[in-house]
């Protein structure tokens, strides 16, 4: 009995378990702390983390295909690339509908340029087809017009296809009128027409701000009405508005001139018969794609599966590798050059060291472009250094050194530009190393070298660590300097990312490259933490 009371929960003064009441107090403190940092946290989330996450998400996002060509994607389900045959009529019918709507909304060219990244020529194929697809549908529009002029009247169509309540309110309404609602009876009787008419009405209202009652529907709606009627739409029992016109049309359609879409597409461009092209559409029809990441590592998702690009087209792995080893070289160079300077800064008397400090900081405050251009003036073949060497007779005039527009140029310029990021953390660590340690070591008989290597250097390692992380991470993402002095073999992966963001507009690939770069930095950071320990890094 007494044992049981001892092992029971310990109670606080108010009778609650002590653990719970402690937790409560702690939680309150935590919430207060969170509230204090909340403004900054929210600010960073909204302006920094969210845009980056959004950008990274683009590397896998691919809903443009299924959004623009929903019916085609569905129709292609049954077709396989391996069959080696062109898709059948239903796929072309679906493509016609999708393409018509996309062309109306001006979405087809964007999809074309997206697929053109995978298969050259799709861009112009889509552009060309988008121009001609309107004519294909007009065949039916003209025949309905010839049958009865009422088929070109927007109000007639609106009353036929729209919900009666909606039509009453929309009639004579200003601007785009009330939101369109479809007549549910028509949805059953003329399903395809209703679907497209709704699409038309919504687009007219949302994108163009017009009232569907006053707008003549797309020719595509006529084409769909033809399709519904020939497929034996159940309108014989229909008694509502427009019944007479629909019945008359149903009787007339068997005599209509038809438009086989497959032939029409092939007439626009032979490429519609290209199995490769359909395979590409199918391979990229998912909501998400690994295509951009594969491209970023010189692979490609083709209809046959993942393939390695031929060496005449692979650039990215080479660029990643170059970016990393050049950044490491630059980091190492800054340690080599920065360490003695930081040592001097830390050990010279105050007056001299502040003068030296100014010399370090002055270039730091100078514009990046100015510093890079200055290196151009110094390093080019007709530049200052070459001129001096030729004048001094070290070089002949024809043997001038090539020091810029190549890797050497990038390494020299970037080492100089990033030097302060190494010197400052080094200095701040060295300034805290008590000089008495070195004196003690010497008084115990250590030579200069032993004193430095065994006593001073180990204490300055945290500074090297901090400087290396700063310089390496800055270097790996650098882009202005390599672009200006890198020539062809001194550019970094970031230059290609910039190219895909601003010139080729292949944002998905840029995002994939950026994600890989970010992951590489994080992995290196993790490795660094395991080897050196991030606790040993001091920034001041």
């Amino acid at each position: 009995m007494s044992d049981a009371t001892q092992t029971g929960p310990m109670l606080a003064a108010d009778g609650r378990p002590l653990k719970a009441s402690l937790n409560r107090a702690l939680r309150r403190q935590k919430i207060r702390a969170l509230m204090l940092i909340a403004p900054l946290l929210i600010f960073i989330l909204i302006t920094f983390i969210a845009p980056i996450a959004d950008m990274l998400f683009r590397s896998v996002e691919n809903n443009i295909v299924s959004d623009t060509l929903p019916r085609t994607v569905e129709a292609l389900d049954e077709w396989t690339y391996a069959s080696g045959e062109m898709p059948g009529e239903p796929v072309f019918d679906a493509m016609f509908v999708d393409m018509f709507i996309a062309a109306e909304k001006k979405e087809h060219t964007r999809l074309g340029s997206r697929l053109n990244y995978q298969e050259t020529g799709i861009s112009s194929l889509f552009r060309q087809t988008g121009r001609d697809v309107g004519d294909m549908a007009e065949v039916y529009e003209d025949q309905f017009d010839a049958l009865n002029e009422i088929w070109r009247d927007g109000a007639f169509w609106a009353q036929l296809m729209g919900d009666p309540d909606w039509f009453e309110n929309a009639q004579g309404a200003e601007d785009d009128g009330p939101r369109f609602r479809i007549n549910s009876e028509m949805e059953d009787r003329l399903p395809r027409t209703a679907e497209i008419y709704r699409e038309f009405a919504r687009y007219t209202q949302n994108a163009e701000g017009d009232n569907p009652v006053e707008e003549r529907p797309w020719p595509l709606v006529h084409a769909m009405l033809y399709a519904d009627l020939t497929e034996g739409a159940a309108i014989d029992a229909y008694q509502g508005f427009g019944a007479a016109e629909l019945l008359a049309a149903k009787e007339a359609v068997p005599g209509f001139e038809t438009q086989p879409y497959r032939d029409a597409f092939l007439e626009v461009d032979d490429d519609w018969g290209n199995v490769e092209m359909w395979g590409t559409i199918k391979a990229y029809s998912g909501e998400f794609t690994s295509g951009y990441f594969l491209n970023a590592v010189d692979r490609e998702l083709t209809p046959q599966g993942v393939e390695t690009l031929p060496s005449s087209q692979s650039v990215y792995l080479k660029l990643f590798w170059r970016t990393i080893w050049m950044s490491l070289t630059i980091t190492f160079m800054t340690i080599l050059l920065g360490y003695p300077v930081a040592y001097l800064l830390a050990s010279l008397p105050m007056r001299k060291s502040s003068l030296l400090m100014i010399l370090v900081l002055l270039p730091f405050w100078t514009s990046l472009l100015v510093r890079t251009s200055a290196w151009k003036v110094l390093l080019q073949q007709q530049g200052v250094i070459n001129d001096i060497l030729v004048w001094a007779g070290v070089l002949s005039d024809s043997g001038r050194l090539i020091m810029i527009n190549n890797q050497l140029g990038t390494i020299i310029a970037m080492t100089h530009i990033l030097l302060p990021f190494m010197i400052l953390p080094l200095y701040s660590v060295m300034a805290t190393i008590p000089p008495s340690y070195v004196r003690a070591a010497k008084s115990l008989g250590g030579t200069n070298w032993v004193t430095f290597w065994r006593v001073y250097f180990p204490q300055s390692v945290p500074g090297i660590g901090a400087g290396s992380i700063l310089v390496f991470i800055l270097a790996i993402g650098y882009y202005i300097t390599p672009a200006l002095v890198g020539g062809t073999d001194g550019i970094f992966i970031s230059n290609r990312i910039a190219y895909h963001i601003s010139s080729s507009l292949n944002w998905g690939l840029a995002a994939a490259l950026g994600t890989i770069l970010l992951a590489a930095v994080l992995v290196l950071y993790w490795a660094y933490d395991r080897i050196v320990g991030i606790d040993n890094v001091k920034l001041g």
């Binding site: 909304k105 001006k106 979405e107 060219t109 964007r110 074309g112 340029s113 053109n116 990244y117 050259t120 020529g121 861009s123 112009s124 552009r127 060496s311 005449s312 087209q313 692979s314 650039v315 080479k318 660029l319 080019q380 073949q381 007709q382 530049g383 527009n405 672009a483 020539g487 062809t488 073999d489 290609r496 963001i501 601003s502 010139s503 080729s504 507009l505 292949n506």
Partner: protein, 369 residues
Amino acid sequence: MKLKTILMGTAIAGVGSMAFAQDMANDMTLVSWGGAYQASQQKAYVEPYLEMNPDVSITWDESSAEAVAKLRAMNEAGNITWDLVDVVASDAIRLCDEGLAMEIDFNEMLAEGDDGSSAEEDFGDFIVSDCYIPQIVYSTAAAYRPDLLPADAPAPDSICAFFDTETYPGKRALEQRPINNMEWALLCDGVPKDEIYNVLETEEGQDQAFAKLDTIKDDIVWWSAAAEPPQLLADGEIVMGSSYNGRWFSAIEEQDQPFEMLWDAQVFDLDGWIIPTGLPEDRLARVMDFVRYATDTQRLADQAKYISYGPARASSAPLVGQHAELGIEMGPHMPTAPANSENVFVYNYTWWADYRDDLDSKFQAWLAQ
């Protein structure tokens, strides 16, 4: 009494300016390229327009190089901050395709030519897209320094001098992209001018162009900003280079550099305005008013006083006069001048729209090899 008058006056003035604001916005953001080109626009039509409309204020944004990317981003964010954007033709075609640029009704929206021709006739073949109002014709042309070439070598008269490192030793500067370079390479490898894009469409044709470029790969300094080649040539880093003809003009005539033009196989391109889609009505009204003025016959001719780019209107050509400061005749310096345009290469916009991505990755891989 007095107070009442003041109040009344303010009220009326308020109503007046309100009504005005509804018609046309008074702030306009123009996007251009900066440098001498933007200065020519400023002097030829922005300053005169501001004089006529003292209430208007114009802000420049020098972002034309990234215009397509930025407009797409603005469109996705649903906040278009630009009113009028200066872009090259290929970008205009892309923007038009994506629905980011407004379609233009030339005869309706733009002024007639001074000679009475309709705007559509006046711009003629330079209308390459439904959304694009061309302003000037520029060209990518070559220049060289006679004093750096061997004394016994004949003066270069063909673009193929770039590929002849024996006669003309030394470095040459070319733009770091496949466009223009691939065409020139094939041209100098004996492919007839009208066959070039057919050849370039095939794998073998592309290999042929790269093989030709390979012969001079070690002698090429690649540029990415058009200001670089004149600088490199002035420094003696290169003996010849390609750049925009306006850059060469300003180096030769304004800075007295000892360069000679090499007009052979110059590649024509256009520069002009697009209006972003989705502008509110008042801003659109202001832009339309400005564009009508800025692209009329006289204004396009005026622009040629400040920079050696040919006006895109046929009716402007006879009005092109002397340089505003140097007083030299501008006519002979235009890429369109008969003596300069004996052998012009016409750049195929739609072909490059298809093959740009593909060839660019091949070009980059070739550079990295």
